[in-house]
Every structure is written in structure tokens, then in C-alpha cells.
Symmetry: C2
Subunit: 463 residues, 2 copies
Amino acid sequence: MVEKVLERVDGELDRSIDRLFDLLRIASISTDPAYKDDCRAAARWCADALAEIGFEASLRDTEGHPMVVGHAGRGQPGPHVLFYGHYDVQPPDPLELWETPPFEPRRAKSADGRDIIVARGASDDKGQLMTFLEAARAFGEVQGEIPLPVTVLLEGEEECGSRSLEPFLAANADELKADVALVCDTAMWDAETPAITSMLRGLLLEEVIVTAASRDLHSGMFGGPALNAIHMLALIVAGLHGEGGRVMVPGFYDGVGELPDEVRAQWDGLGFDEAKFLADIGLRAAAGEADRGVLEKLWSRPTCDVNGIIGGYTGEGSKTVIPAKASAKFSFRLVGDQDPVKMAENFRAFVRARLPDHCTAEFIRHGGDRAISFSLTGPCFEAARKGLADEFGRDAALIGCGGSIPIVGAFKRRLGMDSLLVGFALDDDRIHSPNEKYNLSSFRHGIRSWVRILDALKAIGRT
Amino acid sequence: MVEKVLERVDGELDRSIDRLFDLLRIASISTDPAYKDDCRAAARWCADALAEIGFEASLRDTEGHPMVVGHAGRGQPGPHVLFYGHYDVQPPDPLELWETPPFEPRRAKSADGRDIIVARGASDDKGQLMTFLEAARAFGEVQGEIPLPVTVLLEGEEECGSRSLEPFLAANADELKADVALVCDTAMWDAETPAITSMLRGLLLEEVIVTAASRDLHSGMFGGPALNAIHMLALIVAGLHGEGGRVMVPGFYDGVGELPDEVRAQWDGLGFDEAKFLADIGLRAAAGEADRGVLEKLWSRPTCDVNGIIGGYTGEGSKTVIPAKASAKFSFRLVGDQDPVKMAENFRAFVRARLPDHCTAEFIRHGGDRAISFSLTGPCFEAARKGLADEFGRDAALIGCGGSIPIVGAFKRRLGMDSLLVGFALDDDRIHSPNEKYNLSSFRHGIRSWVRILDALKAIGRT
């Protein structure tokens, strides 16, 4: 029976791609208020797509961008699953590095000869969320209805801190609570090996604005005795990492545990190629903690990165100015029991301690979430494993993820619901970077994997 | 006889201000190619103004912005003087800090109750160059002609490295060579005390672009092992200054001498108020070399400042990116025999030495000039002293200047010509900063001082 649905997926693939392109054309950049209407348009597009395939779908307003909620398969046997994805995307800057405009999706060949789809959001997360919508569509077209109760929740603030998420879950708990959440925002182990993600790092986002003198100064007239805001900020950034790549914020490593031996063994068995990983991004040596491997640093060690800096004159040519202000954006990846609230306090104290008392620092918090990890047992987990193994002809790797997916913590906290993290992105998808892409095979196997997983979940019966 | 000219100046002052406002309305930002036409328009305006007051004036094309050259008073007795000013201005950024648009000049009252003119270029250098043009105009209107041979040279690249200057001087040496250059681009000691500047710091401008990874990376997917370009650049900026505020570039202090005792004594006698100087710019302690006084740091010590920095995401909100590139603009103020060519080499080596070998640094040179100092003797110097003392009722202070005026070195090198640096700016003019202003009294006394100085120069007779 599932074979017919899978055939339908393959037969309809070009039309599935067309629909994905429609969604990719909408510049739903959630962090920038200038794109508010585009975010709403993307939400509307998703709601319409859900309605078209038989979901009872609606846009739900929030203080930020709207949520999309859809329901189908009520009364069907099998566990009730909630699928989560996000329709918002990262800003495309730096624009000049895109080979073609970021919101004009195109098919192309990658350097290694694979078919790819290029656009902002192709992988993160529009391509991924469309794998599920297209699987649901194929079920509807072949079987008349999706074979188990499904709720779809699509968010529009994943790339800017997910501020509306917890209030929305709290206010709609009864409607949204399901037996398990299927979250599609993660990667495969490699192009041939599917993966289930079992650990996610947390995230703290902080912006700092340093003020030195009361105004910008001429470097001839004031250079020497005048304090330079960029210099102050550079001292802070440079001081964040100490010997051996350790982060110097006091208390930074509170709550960071060592990896259990069995997890370390499983990761060691993945055959991760550190040199290739680095070479792929143009590097020959790893940054960060000197005594840790690359995979461990990515999945289970905390970080502190500066994501943006600006101060003084940044146009063409030169300007002999001593800037009064300079600002930087920081992100902290958290693991274990690191507490984002405490971390923010420690970071702010660290910054203030490095400024003379006639300098000031302002702080802006852009969001924070703890790290999370999942149990790897139970019928839903087994259904996902089986669906992926059947589709790819090999077992899914059980991996960590360096990124943060705030929804997963919120599902647990607000709805007492566990998540299954299954995604089809690849490490070379250039998500958040120019020329983001999604492999056509990720898209196709993704759709087919959801068909198989839904089929396997249905077989569980109501839990 | 000169009294009639001075009366004319005062009677015509409102019209002089109107003319200055016309010039201030032209956004002649030389460093930004987008304002090329505005620079030409400002040059054209100056040439027309010179023609109107009896100069044989023309625009001279260069590889950059045009020069304006005018001649008058040929055949008159007295030394031949060349007046220099510049019609280009600094970019007005940050625009949002201007109380009114930078190129819409207005009269206002300062906080301390003085009449001021507010606009980009009001002081640096349009207001200053207009003091001379208005003095020449008054002579013409009262006496029919300027009383000695005068050449006017107005440059349009002073704020962006003066690249065309030396070739232009070399190509037009016969036409431009005079007995002395009068350069009006410096400040008074205070609002009541005129000054002649006898030392100028040199200037080296370098831009650095650091590249780490081959593309921007997601801080979740790559954070930990991935090198961050902003972090690399921050380490360089932070490492430029060491203990006691000394600049750590190897060889940086080569050619820096100690101040002669008599100069130090004269400066000490000026009664400079360090605390007030710092308080005026919102600071309570001086940066830079710990063992040097503020005036010494400003006039006779070298500096290294970062004038601009940018990297990663700098828009609203946050972006969890590890930037591949980051860049910064640096200015070095030079003194004594410091060599800008050698300095640039040393700086570049310093930067490269701080980067891992899989990081690259690109460099852009935006100009460089040695420091310069003048002899304080001779009839022209005495004429300037007398003119200023007569106008202000007190002796001119003989001061240093932390800024750089590349023309002065070029005049010496190319034309064997000494310069007299007399200007009427004030330290609180906010040149290069938002809300730049020029005191109305600077403008009026400036015009009247040039009338007196030209009159005193005429009395010398042909040298």
C-alpha cells in the first residue's frame, strides 16, 4: 500500500519542486522588520498549501510573525503526531556573494555533480518542511486521507529567537498536544546516511554597544589621549578566549559535563574526517579548545562566537575618525546544564569589568535556550528508525547537533511532549551563508522517508 | 588704508556668510565615488567665485577630483604668496546624530552663547578657505585689486589622501612656485588667541581585510572548530597597544625624538587644561602612552588608531553566523622622522605574524605622509605674527598640530616653498564629527586677519 504512495511521490516530484520554489520566492526574513509582510505572505502560502491537501488550516497571529496550524486525520488510528517546521529564513547578506538572487530559486548542478536547489531557505527550513507537506499530499492523493492524526505547526520566528513560541504553546496546549513531535530542521550524517539527532546545543544571543567619548573625534586633533570605542571592544572580543581556546567568562563551564563513554564510542565509530571537514570550509586547523576533537566541539562543547561587529567609518576610502561607539553581536552555544540567564549575567559582568569606568556598555538580549537531549527508545523512535532504514537501505546514525532548535525544549516544557529530530539537510548546504542549497536527493528521500515513517507510526496504533 | 578694507569686511559680513552657505550646500565628499559630481560642482563654484573677484581662475583636471587655480595681483610689489585650502569634506556619517542635515548650513547659537555656522565643512575647510577669498574680495572692492601677487590653489582630495597633489605640483611647478604658502586649515589656540602652527604630525592610512574560512558559516553547525574572522581581527586590534599604551608594531618608535626643552617650556606656558580637554569629549582619563602629557601626545607623539571596523551581520536583530571576512581601517599619526613606507611594511608584517597560515590578510593603502616642522623666523613669519596680533590684540601662540596637512610637505619637496600655517578653527568645531560648526567670530576675524596679513606682507617688498 505504501508503495503506491512512494510511486506517486516520484511521479509528482517536478510539481513538488515547483511548489517549493513558490515558497522560496517569498523573502520571509524574520529578524528584519522590513520583511514583516513577506513573513506573513509565507505563512499564508503555507496555510493555503495545507488547506489544499485537506488540512483544516489557519494563520494564528502572535506578537511577532504568525503561526500556521493545520489538522488532518482526526479519528484515524495510530498515535497523534505534531509536525514542526519554520517558514522564516536568515538574512541573505552578504548579498554580493550570491551567484544568483537569493529569492529566485533555481535548479543547478553542484561541483560534485549532484542536482541541487539554490535559494535562501532551500535547506533551512523551507525545503525540509516541504518534505513533510509533500508526503502528506501524496497520502491524500493516493489514499484519500493521511493515515493517522496529524497536526502541523509552522513557525515564523525560528531565526530570530522564537519569542512568540512559548506563549503560543501555553495558550493552545490542548490543541497542540500530541503523542510525539516530528521536527524537521536537522541534517543527515552524510548524503547517503540518514540520521536521528539526539542532542542539541542551547543558544544565548547578546549584543553589546560600547561608548567611549561623547562624540566621534578627529584622529589628528584627538589621537593619542582619546579613548577609541573600537579598541575597547576589540579588547573585549580578544579577551573572550584564553590559552588552549578556553572561554574566559567566569563561570562559563559551570554545568558542562564530560561525554559518557558509550556516546563517545558511537561518535568515534562514525568515521568523521576532521581534515576534510576543515578543508571543506577552507581551513587547515581547528579553532577552539585545543584538547577536544572536532565532532566533540561541534556537538557537546560550549562556544562563544562574535557574529557581527561594526564601528567608525566603514564606507569606501578612509576617514580619520576616532569612533565614540562600536557594537558587536555574540552567540553562545550551550551544552549540558549551562543556564542562559546566568551565562548572560556572567558575560555582561565580564564586559563591564574590561571597560574603564568612563566607558559604558549597553546590552541587548536576542534570546536564550538551554541545551537538550533525548531518550533513544520507544515505539515512535523505532518507527522513525525503521522508516529511514527502509528508505536509505542503511541504519540512521544517532548524532548530536551543534545548532539550537528552541521548539524542542518548548514542546517538552509546555506540552510534556517528546520530539523526534529527523532532517535531510547536509553539512555543505551553506545554511545561513550565500548560495544556500538543498540536494534534490534530500528533497526526494525526505518526502519518501516521511511516507514510510508515517506508515510505520500508523502501525503502532493509538498509544 | 587697510582700515577701509576692514570696514568693508564688517559691512559685507552677511553677504560673505551667504556665499559660504552656497559652498557648504555642495556635498563634496571626496572619499566616496558617489559624490564625484558634487566635488566637481564645489570646484566649479570656487573657480567662479575667484573669477568674480578678479582672479584669472580655472579648473584643472586630475586623476581624481579637480584642482582650482587662480592668479591675481601680477606685477604688484611685495612677495608672491600662494594661498592653499581644500573644498572637499569628510563623509557626514553617522547621519542620525546630526541635528539638521549636514549640507543645509544654518546659523545657530552654541551652548555657550556664541554665534556659529553649522554644516559639514563649516570649519574644515570651506569656512577657512572662504576667510581668504572674502579678504581678497574686500581688497578688490575697496582698492580695485589685491595689493600683492597672489596665487590661490584649492584642492579636492585633502580628506582622502591627496593622491593627485604631488603630480599636479610637479607638472605645474613654474606656475605655482611662490615666495611663501599661506595654508588655512589649522586651529587657533582658543577662541580669543590666534595661533601659528609650527609642527604637523604625518599620517599613514591602511585598511586590512582578514579572511578565515572560505565562506560564512552557521555558528551552530560550525561553532567550536571554525575560525572566526572577527575574532582574528580583534586579536590584531587588541594587540596593537601594549603595556603603558605603547604601540607594539616592531620599529614603531624608530625616528621618534624627544621634545626640545625650549619647545616643552613654551607648551607648558600655554596653560593647557588636560581635565577640561578630556571632559569636553566625555572622558575622565587619557588613553595612550601613560608617561606623556595630553598636549605632548597630541602634537609630538605617534599614534595608532582603528577608524572603522566591520564584519559579519550588522543589521537589526541577530544572525548566528561565523563570518569568513572582517575588515578594519587604521590611521597612524607620525612624528619626527618616522617613515610612512617603512611603517606600512612593519604594520603589515605585524598583522601577518598574528594570523594562522590558513588565514589571509589583504591590505589597502589610503595614503601616507611624514611629519613636518617649520622654522619660526623670517619676514613672512613676522608679517603673519603682526597681522594676527593687530587683529586679536594679543600674540599668536606657536603651537603643534596633531593632524596632517599633506600639502605642506609637498610644497617643500616639490616647490622648495615654506608654508605659514594660520587658521581660525577651534578645538570644539567637531570637524569630522556630526554637527560640525565654525564660530562666526572665527569667520570674521579670519577674513580681517588675512586683510592685515596681506597688508603686512605687501610692506616687505619683493623678496
